[in-house]
């Protein structure tokens, strides 16, 4: 009898430990997700409609392209699949899972992330990866993104990564641990309404470029994106969004490599750095962080500019006459303006 009790109590102990690992893992993982930028990818999985354009990339994408504006002005249906410091390998795997679900007419990839040959920051990378739904693509994205100190196991058992945050917990973390995360984006676009102009007295110059060539690993993944789009019959458009910061400085040498790459692979590359006047950007009004990223006013101008390119050069259809789509997008546009006008 004692033997039976021993076995049952041992199995119970293991189950309790497993339960605790899963429960505390969820609670502690959630505690770190107070960051808005940890919820940029999840909303896509709830969408049921198809899109003509998918934007892929990092902050310059999710704070630069406004799907609501694109539909409002050009009738283009689109979704932004971007996350903070999204590397090219993450973009590739996110594109992979996106193309499993739908076949857009064009994929627009912002090339800024090509400057990274390694995952720059583990915590940011993890934030993006954990926001993805589990799939083969996510697993591959994790493997490609993991830094040396990380373990794959910690992606399955988040407690192993976030256990040290127990002292930061509050009651809400326990309350909402298992709630589904709310989509805070507008079709993947993260709205920033603040205005914080570029500091014109800041005369810092970009560092000298030590390695002219973009990292080999980044180019390899760009090759994979190109091949995947060709295989799926989707046009891949390369773009470099405008910026006014030293941190995200886009060197002319990199730009030249992109021009070459596009030419060799039969792609179109739009370098929009320095085209502020053409776009109509005013860096005293159109940025929320001193020129690093666009705010909603800058993003609308940029989207409006780029929408014209998409409509005219790439024949992306106008769906505004489609009653069903107009109704869906009308609701989205209303929600967008509610937040823009501070009503939300």
């Amino acid at each position: 009898m004692k033997k039976v009790i021993r076995i049952i109590s041992f199995v119970c102990a293991l189950l309790i430990v497993l339960g605790a690992v899963l429960y505390f893992g969820a609670v502690l993982q959630d505690a770190r997700l107070d960051n808005r930028e940890g919820h940029l990818l999840c909303g896509y999985y709830d969408t049921t409609d198809m899109h003509d354009v998918i934007f892929i990339g990092d902050c310059e994408v999710y704070e630069g392209f406004v799907p609501a504006t694109l539909f409002e002005e050009y009738g283009i249906t689109s979704y932004v699949r971007g996350s903070s410091q999204q590397t090219v390998w993450q973009s590739y795997h996110i594109l992979e899972e996106t193309l499993e679900r739908e076949t857009p007419k064009a994929v627009v990839f912002n090339v800024l992330a090509l400057k990274y040959g390694e995952t720059p920051l583990e915590e940011i990378s993890r934030m993006s990866l954990e926001d993805m739904e589990w799939s083969g693509s996510k697993l591959e994205a994790i493997k490609a993104s993991m830094t040396e100190e990380e373990s794959l196991l910690s992606y399955f058992l988040p407690l192993l990564r976030y256990h040290s945050r127990w002292s930061d917990l509050d009651g809400d973390d326990f309350k909402y641990a298992f709630d589904k995360h709310q989509d805070i984006t507008h079709q993947g676009y993260l709205m920033q309404t603040k205005i914080d102009p570029v500091d014109i007295s800041d005369n810092r110059q970009p560092d000298d470029l030590l390695n002219v060539a973009l990292p080999k690993r980044a180019i390899e993944y760009l090759d994979k994106m190109t091949a995947l789009c060709k295989e799926k019959g989707v046009e891949l458009i390369l773009v470099k969004a405008p910026t006014n910061s030293i941190r995200y400085y886009w060197y002319p040498e990199w730009d030249a490599q992109m021009v070459d790459y596009a030419e060799k692979n039969g792609l179109v590359y739009y370098s929009l750095v320095g085209k502020d006047d053409e776009i109509g950007l005013d860096w005293s009004q159109d940025t929320y962080d001193k020129g690093l990223h666009l705010n909603v006013y800058g993003a609308e101008k940029f989207t409006s500019y780029f929408g014209k390119i998409l409509a005219e050069n790439h024949a992306i259809p106008d769906h505004r006459s489609d009653a069903e789509l107009s109704a869906i997008w009308g609701a989205r546009i209303d929600a967008y303006y509610k937040e823009r006008n501070g009503e939300k």
């Binding site: 021993r6 041992f10 119970c12 605790a20 505390f24 196991l153 910690s154 002292s167």
Partner: protein, 527 residues
């Protein structure tokens, strides 16, 4: 592969499974292969030195074994033809030959140890610096996992065979297993052939009790290491890094003692627990050291296998050398009987402690640490008659709990103070910070929030304090018999403890990104 890692747990689980599945005859081969795999993680250079130690010790014990057998046979064959004196002379001559062989073996292994630990980074360009910090012979020393431990195990075995206190293992691979048994490679214990030699050869059946107790012991080791020792480590780093003095020096002494206790005993718990799951009982290395009432007692309870090794293979042989006997005679004649009697013991004690210090590393802090230990032990011995008189005069007071506690606390503080030389790795700086107690005590920092500025938060202090209380309680509950064995008898409570321990480690442990839990103090620094 660190003991404090999931890799090690996975490795142990797989090895255990294979170990108990294969036919009993080949279990020892599984252990040997497991040790090879474990050691392979340390790299080819490490492997080479381990192999060298195995080969040298194997050849030495084989030659010694053959000489013992030949002597026995010769004495047997000539028992009717040789006189007693002739037999004695032959035996002495033979013994000298054996001594020479064992000395060559010891020399070769010592040279390899000295080379790796002290000389491998030597370059004439860098020269030899005898500064205040490390005694540097160069810049980068080789990193060879566990060389101090397996070298001592091998030397001990060769001496035991020479003394005919251990059987000669004739199978090279079994011998290799004895020297390289993986759990004891990284941080000890330093086992003798009598401890493990036979056990490693003997077939073992799976014993649920041993496996459960071993598992609980491993978890307990993780708790001590990850929840307590590694959690207090940032405070130690901050105090040392900022060279804080006064009350912080006292905190440093206490924190470092807590850390090294949790780290080292925790590591040994993992080692012994892992071996226990496989049915192997390795010698204990600690026996509630912080309850010691004197320095000598402390060293009988702390890192016991190292203490035994130095006593058996350095202190006793040294005390009994002809030189020491001559020294004693000279002392008696020139300095009086009392001094003459003490001279060899004192000299051997100081040399032994100096060697112990240098074994930990070639740095002045270890030299001073070793010498201080020796000196304190000798002073304690000298004061013993005084203590005995006090004890005889006030037996009630002596045996009272407060006085016993006073002695334990006094020993703890004294050892903590000596141990703090490890922290600064700089003798003058350690003294400087020690004397700061007398001119900038700053006790107000305890309550004005100063101690919160040394990289440990209030909640972390609470967790560490709770951990220390639990460690103390477990230590007290394990005086007669290990608590895990008591818990085995009460399965529901035992498994509840196991679950709580797991959860506490996983939630409160210092591991993963942002922590460096992989390095054990004794497994890393003292390779």
């Amino acid at each position: 592969m660190s003991f404090a890692s999931f890799e090690f747990l996975a490795f142990l689980a797989i090895l255990t499974l294979v170990y108990f599945i294969v036919p009993k005859k080949v279990q020892w081969i599984v252990l040997l292969l497991g040790s090879v795999v474990f050691y392979a993680f340390a790299g080819l250079v490490s492997f080479f030195f381990l192999f060298f130690a195995i080969v040298i010790s194997f050849i030495t014990v084989q030659v010694l074994g053959k000489r013992h057998a030949a002597l026995k046979k010769y004495l047997e064959d000539t028992k009717d033809t040789l006189t007693k004196d002739e037999r004695k002379a032959y035996r002495a001559k033979h013994k000298n030959g054996s001594l020479l062989i064992v000395c060559i073996g010891i020399l070769l292994l010592t040279l390899s140890l000295v080379y790796v630990k002290y000389l491998s980074g030597f370059s004439f360009k860098n020269g030899v610096s005898f500064g205040s910090g490390a005694i540097s012979f160069g810049s980068t020393l080789l990193e060879v996992m566990g060389i101090s431990y397996y070298t001592f195990i091998s030397i001990g075995y060769m001496i035991d065979v020479y003394r005919e206190k251990a059987a000669v293992e004739k199978n090279f691979f079994r011998h290799a297993l004895f020297v390289s048994f993986f759990p004891q490679l990284a941080m000890g214990p330093i086992s003798r052939y009598a401890d493990t030699g036979e056990q490693l050869k003997t077939p073992h059946s799976f014993e649920a009790k041993e496996a459960w107790c071993g598992l609980l012991r491993i978890l307990w080791g993780f708790f001590k290491k990850l929840v307590v020792a590694d959690a207090i480590a940032p405070a130690i780093g901050a105090i040392v890094g900022k060279q804080l003095g006064g009350i912080y020096f006292i905190l440093l002494c206490l924190f470092y003692s807590i850390r090294i206790y949790g780290d080292f005993t925790g590591g040994i718990d993992i080692v012994l627990g892992a071996a226990q799951i496989l049915g192997i009982k390795l010698p204990e290395n600690f026996n509630r050291p912080f309850s010691s009432k004197s320095t000598a007692e402390y060293w009988n309870r702390w890192h016991m296998t190292m203490g035994n090794w130095f006593t058996n293979y350095i202190f006793y042989p040294l005390s009994l050398t002809k030189t020491m006997q001559k020294l004693s005679k000279w002392g008696r004649a020139k300095l009086g009987v009392g001094v003459g009697k003490r001279l060899p013991v004192y000299t051997a004690t100081i040399i032994t402690w100096l060697a112990t210090g240098l074994w930990h590393g070639i740095a002045w802090n270890f030299v001073v640490w070793g010498l201080l230990n020796g000196v304190v032990i000798l002073i304690s011995q000298e004061l013993n008659p005084l203590y005995e008189k006090f004890r005889a005069k006030f037996p009630k007071l002596w045996n009272s709990a407060p006085y016993q506690s006073f002695m334990a606390i006094r020993t703890f503080l004294l050892m903590s103070l000596i141990r703090v030389f490890d922290c600064y790795c700089d003798v003058p700086l350690t003294f400087n910070r020690f004397f700061s107690i007398f001119y900038t005590f700053n006790i107000a920092d305890i309550w004005n929030g100063g101690i919160m500025n040394i990289k440990v938060t209030a909640t972390q202090y609470i967790i560490i304090a709770v951990g220390i209380v639990i460690m103390t309680a477990v230590s007290r509950l394990s005086i007669k018999r290990p608590l895990r064995e008591t818990l085995w008898e009460k399965p529901i409570l035992g498994n509840a403890v196991l679950a709580l321990l797991c959860i506490a480690i996983l939630v409160f442990g210092s591991y993963g990104l942002g922590f460096d839990a992989s390095a054990f103090i004794y497994g890393g620094t003292f390779n």
